[in-house]
Subunit: 264 residues, 2 copies
């Protein structure tokens, strides 16, 4: 077993809100590694993507939910706002590591784009701080986080002992299985997939049309090196996510478009 | 000059809202290429990132703002919601191209993560539809879009004549210059940069702390192949953005973390 080199200062965030069981589990999982600060939304923020509060204020108040040893704030902002206000205003010193979650539900494949959990981790990396998002494939508020907490400790221990790759956040997804049935941890790439949307159309009492967005996820990539494959086969998936989203492979092709002149 | 091969069906979206001058300019710029449908937010959605409406309904009503030839809806949703409801519910057939913008303000470098304009384009690509986001480096509601409209036409003409790279959205940023002073169009990569946040702390009448988020952008990458360099030097930047965000270069290093066993 690896030893952590020092007592780290860890910032904890999530997107399900400060009252979600998942963030309590995450705090319990990482508290052995050092000093914790929690800054999390005061209400659920699932699907918030990388939204930030532009042109509107953010309330932030002290929370006593995590006991006397953990400084904590709840904010009216998004997960990305929470990271910004934590590092820019509330914390005395920069954290060594940011952990986000444990999310109630998967953030694998293209769900990384919609995920508030991962936006907190990506915001951390945009600020140069090593960051990891954790998600358990169980939407229930009564989810059992026992195995997930073991996974968190296994991974955080390494993140503190090794140097994290620069400009990369880790997207960790954990199957809904007891610890004894987890087959291990796999480093993966992001599966290709699509959300196939359906809309439930209704009329409000004022005669206006409104819609409920419903979606089915359609996995389109069965490679054994993907997060989708790992999760379906009982493995924890650790997918590194980068903040340079340039499609470098497309540059040459676009240079053949002959756009030197602006035509109008 | 390239001819468009056919009359295309183009979906137009934005994040500044359906009443913003930028989306009017975009509709005027692309209407010569075919049939247009507009589905845009009914209020400003800057900084919404890739947020979607989870667990709350989306209102969508017909808009007559773009004349009798353009089908248009305004919705209570985010830019990503607009694309989902347009393709999944409101449009009879799948669009050939999605254009988003013209945004009032830059979406270069890491602003791509916060941008509602680019989230609409990325959502299009997640659904397999060629998509382009356009942004003018002028936040003013009185911005002059004359040169930007020429840029839009130059690029859309090529996007329709050539095949767009798959799984790639284009992030087009346009300097605030008259057409005669634009030096051309450059294919670029995303600059590294950071937002350095400052918070203006206040107390509300109930004694609660609230904060206004203020930021300064700090460009950290001066390469002549970057979007930042292009824009500072009078060029339009066309940066391809990919939806596979896996840090492929980090996989080998993470495989050295020896995480086969879950320790707990």
């Amino acid at each position: 077993m690896l030893a952590s080199h020092y007592m780290a200062h860890i910032l904890v965030c999530n997107d399900d809100g400060i009252f979600a069981p998942g963030i309590k589990a995450l705090v319990e999982a990482v508290k052995e590694f050092g000093t914790l600060t929690v800054v999390a939304p005061d209400s659920p923020q699932s699907g918030m993507g990388h939204a930030i509060s532009v042109g509107k204020p953010i309330w932030a108040g002290v929370s006593h939910d995590f006991g006397p040893d953990v400084k904590a704030w709840e904010t009216s902002g998004t997960p990305a706002d929470c990271i910004k206000i934590a590092t820019g205003q509330l914390m005395d010193k920069r954290p060594d590591l940011i952990v986000s979650g444990i999310n109630h539900g998967s953030n694998s494949s293209i769900s990384v784009f919609y995920s508030g959990t991962m936006s907190a981790a990506i915001e951390g990396v945009l600020e140069g701080i090593p960051s990891i998002g954790f998600s358990l494939l169980d939407y229930s508020m009564e989810a059992d986080f026992a195995a997930a907490k073991q996974v968190v400790r296994t991974i955080v221990r390494r993140a503190l002992a090794h140097r994290m790759p620069e400009n990369v956040a880790l997207n960790v997804n954990i199957p809904k299985l007891p610890a004894a049935e987890l087959r291990g941890i796999k480093i993966t790439r992001q599966s290709a997939g699509r959300w196939v949307e359906e809309f439930d159309k209704r009329k409000d009492p004022y005669g206006r049309d409104y819609y409920w967005l419903m979606g089915q996820f359609d996995l389109q990539d069965d490679g054994q090196d993907t997060d989708g494959w790992a999760l379906r086969n009982g493995y924890v998936s650790v997918c590194p996510v980068q903040i340079d989203v340039t499609a470098h492979h497309a540059l040459a092709r676009l240079n053949n478009w002959e756009m030197n002149e602006i035509e109008g």
